[in-house]
């Protein structure tokens, strides 16, 4: 369990993964964009607007995926007090919030031509908005304390409690009857979508995910360095706590 607890070991692993993740991301996104914008047909119902799907759906999936992995990391952080898990959760939430935001905005941009409205208080849309708030709450809670570990613990509890929202988003289209599209890719009995659209969608989705991996590694590295900065500052203060009079003076205090 604690094999990667040592940052040196983790960083060695990260050093291997990071360049690959970046290369794969660039390749997949380039290929995906080509298919999404040039080499795929317009939908017979939705016309050219269907191209919004290639950014809307991957960001929606990624937002859900990131929250799920954040909840898992938080659970590990709470149970095993694993510092790396805390750091991963902390590094994830801004990325998750960003992609939730992208999903909301592209959804709105799609909704105007398709449904004739930017926004509707539909179950999935609202649940997605709640997810956005959960991300924001997570970030706010992390930064709301003078003591970094205190914020991490509180945020971990929140991440776990908020996880109920993820299945609600996923299944809201089935549980309530809504404006929003039901699942057409990830569902029982295989995808109900033409392969000419499925290909760019999958390219983009995988590309987004590797992008997330790469960015996460960058941010985890930053957090590791920041933890060390905090520790060194603390040590500095601690050192300075001994007065100029010297150690002998201190012991005399008794």
């Amino acid at each position: 369990m604690h094999r990667f607890a040592n940052p040196a070991q983790f960083l060695r692993l990260a050093n291997v993964i990071q360049p690959w993740a970046l290369a794969v991301t660039v390749a997949l996104l380039a290929l995906g964009l080509y298919f999404a914008l040039f080499a795929s047909p317009a939908d017979y119902q939705q016309g050219e607007t269907v191209r919004i799907m290639y950014v809307h759906v991957p960001s929606a999936w990624l937002a859900l995926f990131i929250y799920t992995s954040m909840a898992v990391a938080s659970g590990m952080a709470l149970v095993w007090k694993h510092p790396l898990a805390d750091i991963i959760a902390k590094a994830s939430s801004p990325i998750g919030a960003s992609f939730t935001f992208v999903c909301l905005l592209t959804g709105a941009l799609w909704g105007k031509p398709m449904w004739g409205t930017w926004w509707e208080w539909d179950a999935r849309l609202t649940a997605m908005l709640v997810l956005f708030f959960l991300y924001l709450g997570h970030m706010a809670l992390l930064n709301a304390f003078d003591d970094a570990t205190r914020g991490q613990r509180a945020a971990a509890v929140l991440a776990l409690a908020g996880f109920v929202n993820v299945p609600i988003i996923k299944f809201s289209v089935d549980w309530w009857n809504t404006l929003h599209q039901p699942a057409s890719v990830v569902k029982m009995g295989g995808p109900a979508i033409h392969s000419s659209m499925l290909l760019p969608l999958m390219l983009m989705a995988v590309g987004f995910t590797t992008f997330f991996v790469w960015l996460l590694l960058v941010r985890v590295r930053t957090e590791l360095a920041a933890a060390k900065v905090r520790a060194m500052r603390m040590a500095q203060v601690h050192e300075a706590a001994r007065p100029a009079g010297g150690a002998a003076e201190q012991r005399g205090t008794v």
Partner: protein
């Protein structure tokens, strides 16, 4: 103040405390028997308060264990809660409750299976010279009076282990003397006392624990990943 069973033993082995992201102390052992006393000494930030909180069960040790009569303390936190009296930096005095109400509440919560009579609480107030203030609301107390009210909890309900974090702050000289006498009486009855202080407190036969010996000032980065 007589303790029914004077054969208590309270000990800790290889205790490590991590706060924030820093190792405050590590490899600390202590051993206390009924009638014993331990004085925690050391400069600011050396971990005296942290050790007391560890003993109380407010903090968990990152490593090591604490035993009560040989049995691990964290197996039964409630029993441990009933054994100890913790006096920290804050006085836990509610401004709108009277002095007597404040004390009675803590007495009842702490000794929930025994009835803490108003009479016992009154004697506790008397010992600290607060009896004439019994009907006064907490918000009107001075710093030293609040501290004395907080200390009166020690007498309002029984508990063999007293954990006192700088209890003499804000006390006048007379009250310090009263506290010393009460600690002596408590120990004579088989209780034990752990106390942190920067001042001279008279505790005959007490063991001293110099916290700075267990410090780990240079181990900042690794501490987190220990």
């Amino acid at each position: 103040m007589k303790q029914d069973s004077p054969a208590y033993r309270f000990s800790g082995q290889g205790l490590t405390c991590v706060r924030g992201e820093r190792v405050v102390f590590s490899g600390l052992d202590f051993e206390l028997a009924g009638g014993g006393a331990l004085v925690l000494l050391g400069p600011n930030g050396s971990g005296k308060s942290s050790l007391l909180r560890l003993m109380a069960g407010l903090l968990r040790p990152a490593a090591g264990r604490m035993l009560w009569n040989g049995a691990p303390v964290d197996e039964d936190r409630e029993a441990h809660g009933q054994r100890i009296h913790y006096v920290g930096h804050h006085d836990a005095v509610k401004p709108v409750l009277t002095v007597a109400e404040n004390l009675l509440f803590w007495g009842r919560v702490h000794a929930f299976d025994q009835s803490v009579g108003a009479e016992r609480a009154h004697r506790a107030l008397d010992a600290f010279g607060l009896a004439h203030l019994a009907g006064m609301p907490g918000k009107l107390l001075s710093a030293g009076q609040k501290r004395r009210l907080n200390l009166a909890r020690l007498l309002a309900s029984p508990g063999p282990v007293w954990l006192l974090d700088e209890p003499t702050v804000a006390l006048d000289r007379h009250s310090v003397r009263v506290l010393e006498a009460l600690m002596a009486e408590h120990r004579a009855g088989g209780g034990m006392v752990v106390i942190s202080t920067h001042l001279d407190v008279d505790l005959p036969g007490a063991e001293e624990l110099h916290m700075d010996r267990f410090g780990a000032p240079a181990r900042w980065a690794e501490g987190m990943w220990a």
